[in-house]
Amino acid sequence: MVINRSWHEQVALFEPLCFAQSGDTILLLEDAVLAMQSPITLASFLAKCQANQISVAALLDDCRLRGIDNKYPQIDLVDYTGYVDLVIAHDKQVAW
């Protein structure tokens, strides 16, 4: 499962966690990548994901567009081809 979410407010980043379980990937897409500029919120989010064996990825193109660097080894940067691969690798996607 891939969950993508436009990130508008801190709580929104955590909402998809009620869907995701072990083996799922949460993909940060569009404005969701802005969360990578909020270290405290993101650290807590990554810790929750790690505890539940949920992988986290971010769309490279959306990061570049917004001038966001990935300082987090836990976040896998993927391009659109990688996004397609994620969709193929998981049996369903939940858009948030």
Binding site: M1, E15, C18, F19, A20, Q21, K92, Q93, V94, A95, W96
Partner: protein, 125 residues
């Protein structure tokens, strides 16, 4: 082959947008395909089922809204199997099961993960 299981998730409150109306359109079509259809109300989506919604007296000089949320009460007749409401979403908004216009199954976050994994397709509104 057993029917595919489709889950429709509603996360928005009614009247400020058409998400509820358009989710219901999709739910009714899903049911007409004889899919195994369930609906989950999450976050502000629980306000879709809040009782005592009052659209006021019909007055042709005023803009009128449709009380589309009545349709949730009829979903059972269309073969929609189950309505689920996240317990936390109700609690956080000062609501309880007795405030809902239709019987729904209260479900916790852990059960939502299972629910999502059991369904073949998930639409979010």
């Amino acid at each position: 082959m057993s029917a595919k299981k489709y889950l429709y998730v509603i996360t928005k409150a009614p009247y400020s947008n058409a998400a509820g109306i358009e989710a219901l359109d999709a739910i009714l079509i899903g049911a007409s395909f004889e899919l195994d259809v369930s609906v989950l109300f999450l976050h502000n989506g629980v306000f879709q089922l809040k009782d005592n919604q009052d659209i006021g007296v019909k007055d042709s000089s005023l803009p009128n809204v449709k009380q589309f949320t009545k349709t949730y009460k009829a979903l059972e007749d269309f073969g929609v199997n189950q309505l689920y409401v996240q317990d936390q979403s109700l609690d956080a908004r000062g609501l309880s099961e007795s405030d809902l216009i239709v019987p729904a199954k209260l479900i916790d976050s852990q059960s939502i993960k299972v629910l999502v994994s059991e369904h073949d397709q998930v639409f979010t509104f």
